[in-house]
Amino acid sequence: MSNIAGLFNYWVVIFLMMAGFFVVISQGNLVKKIIGLSLFQASAFILYISIGHVSGGEVPIYVEGSNLYSNPLPHVLILTAIVVSVSTTAVGLAIIIRIKETYNTVEEDEIQIIDNRKDDEDEPVEEEHPAEQKEDQS
């Protein structure tokens, strides 16, 4: 029993990971997919942060008379991974904005329908740049 409670962090990791993964797979809305993806990545962060804990250890700052301290390295590593995650989310959202501009929807199935319709017409699908056209006019 103490074992299950003692692994509390890891249960959270597994729950978050599966929840995020499920959202990515099941949701058709692209923004929700990105949310799921962030959740999925967040679970890995908690995993790393949990590894760094040393039972009975103190804050990893040099203090007179203390020898046992938590491992600071995983925390530093995960800072980098958080930066990576933020930039992935940013790029994902940027792509969603352009999808919204060209298709006028962020639902996966609707995009599919629009693309299929274009396929039938047998015309190369050229992307329109509404934003740029405005720039040219002004």
Binding site: F40, T88, V91, T102
Partner: protein
């Protein structure tokens, strides 16, 4: 220390610095020159490093002067330098090609960011090859991945956006799997240095955490590698990306993923654990075989030639993973040879299609009509590239298929040798489709092309033909590729 001692880091730093410089200068021409200069510098640097490594063994470079197990180590052995050489040479040729192609395919205000992102992708991929630290490898992986999502989304066709988004979702899941795997290894060993890990891991091979980490790493890398059931992001990403990007990614990105797989399976873990204790050899052979047959069959029915080549890429990655799965020295060596040769042929083919899109306006079968008269040199390049893809003697493709068949016979698995031959037969069908359209079908009146000779500009022809000639050269003179690959495989497999 002289400049040469710092080459391992300079090869990454120069493209990394050139990227923001491009944005600062904000001129398409200057960015192109900067990108070209950075790539050529990296290429010359890697040739120098190759000479050092073949003469005096692996190079270890401690970043910032911190000694290896504590600081980040950059480590270059034969396998890394083969990949680095491939990457930098293809990058130089692709950037040389890019000038006109990009002007036409990417809207004006995005050309400068395009070069900057391409440089970031190059820096990230070279970082993966050089790094000797698993977490550092993850960071470089993400640099290159995020750059490639952006590059794909720049495609003219609007479906490129959707393709880029799909790749982003699947790529991020793969990268997070790798991150979790690295976390598991660190949990048990307390180290991130590859050499250090390979010393500490053998005593822990029965540990369940290590095995879970191994599984996470393999699945994550296979997602990046587009191994059969995890390949869904690849066809659309290659088909709708700008042609320069398709050529660059097809020739390098998946190859670097194969490098990561070899590095983790054989350096961080060891040969015996990865391919004998764990049932990975059977899995790789099974998935590789399915990839070869199914993707080749799908490729036959494609009308868009870029999509056709993308499916053929998945099949070729199937060959590579099958050879790794054979779990022998010869198998690993043939995987490395095919990795190199496949990059040459796919680079040549995608670039030739890029030249075709530049002049004719599309890369579908109907655009090919009358190509031979209109663009004879480009057409010839597509034909030779296609022959190499099939594996006709005298081309690079033949050499790798030959070694693969040898490796499967050596392992006593003759059905696999037959399967490789069957895959080549399927390749004949889809290559013939391209060749037939180019050579035999006359230009119809509906086609946009008038029947005058209208060849692509020289900066496009030079890279295409450099790769085509490399295809023939490495098909006749196999000394460099085969001996290097065999030496690299010997080092990787070690005493087994």
């Amino acid at each position: 220390m002289s400049v040469v001692d710092h080459l391992p880091i300079l090869i990454i730093i120069i493209p990394l610095i050139a990227a923001p410089l491009c944005v600062l200068f904000d001129s398409a021409k200057v960015s192109w020159l900067l990108a070209l200069a950075a790539c050529i510098f990296s290429f010359i640097g890697s040739i120098k490093l190759l000479n050092t490594i073949t003469a005096s063994g692996p190079i270890s470079y401690s970043l910032g002067g911190w000694q290896p197990p504590w600081g980040i180590e950059y480590r270059l052995d034969l396998l890394s330098i083969i990949l680095l050489l491939l990457l930098t040479s293809i990058a130089s040729l692709v950037v040389l090609f890019a000038r006109y192609s990009v002007e036409q395919e990417i809207s004006k205000n995005r050309i400068v960011p395009f070069y900057a992102t391409l440089l970031l992708a190059i820096a990230g991929l070279s970082g993966i090859c050089i790094s000797g630290d698993v977490f550092n490898l993850f960071v470089f992986l993400e640099i290159s991945s995020i750059a490639s999502y952006t590059l794909i989304s720049l495609g003219k066709d609007r479906r490129a956006l959707n393709a880029a988004f799909k790749y982003l979702v699947m790529g991020t899941i793969g990268a997070t799997f790798i991150l979790i795997g690295i976390g598991f290894l660190y949990m048990q060993t307390g180290t991130l240095n590859m050499q250090d890990l390979s010393e500490r891991l053998p005593s822990l091979y029965d540990n369940r955490t290590i095995r879970a980490g191994f599984a996470f790493l393999t699945v994550g890398i296979c997602l990046k590698l587009a191994l059969f059931p995890l390949h869904l992001w690849l066809p659309n990403a290659y088909a709708y990306a700008p042609s320069v990007v398709s050529a660059f990614l097809a020739a390098t990105a998946t190859k670097v993923a194969v490098y990561m797989l070899l590095r983790f399976l054989l350096t961080v873990f060891d040969f015996n654990f990865s391919l004998n204790t764990m049932p990975l050899d059977v899995i790789l052979i099974a998935l590789g075989s399915v990839a070869i047959v199914s993707s080749s069959l799908v490729a036959i029915f494609q009308v868009n030639l870029k999509r056709l080549l993308a499916y053929s890429s998945i099949a070729q990655l199937g060959y590579i993973s099958l050879s790794i799965g054979l779990a022998s020295k010869l198998g690993i060596a043939s995987a490395i040879i095919h990795l190199f040769n496949h990059a040459l042929m796919k680079g040549a083919l995608f670039l030739a299609l890029g030249a075709m899109i530049y002049k004719v306006g599309g890369a579908e079968l109907k655009h090919c009509q009358g190509m031979l008269k209109r663009m004879p040199l480009t057409s010839l390049a597509i034909i030779i590239g296609g022959l190499s893809l099939i594996g006709i003697p005298g081309t690079a493709g033949f050499i790798s298929k030959w070694y693969m068949i040898n490796a499967s016979l050596e392992a006593g698995l003759w059905p696999l040798a037959l399967l490789i031959l069957f895959g080549s037969l399927l390749a004949i069908i889809y290559v013939w489709k391209m060749v037939e359209a180019i050579t035999l079908q006359p230009s119809t009146s509906t086609a946009t092309a008038p029947l005058t000779r209208d060849e692509a500009p020289l900066t496009m022809l030079v890279p295409i033909w450099a790769l085509v000639i490399a295809n023939i050269y490495y098909g006749i003179n196999t000394e460099l590729t085969v001996s290097l690959a065999q030496r690299a495989a010997n080092i990787l497999v070690g005493g087994y």
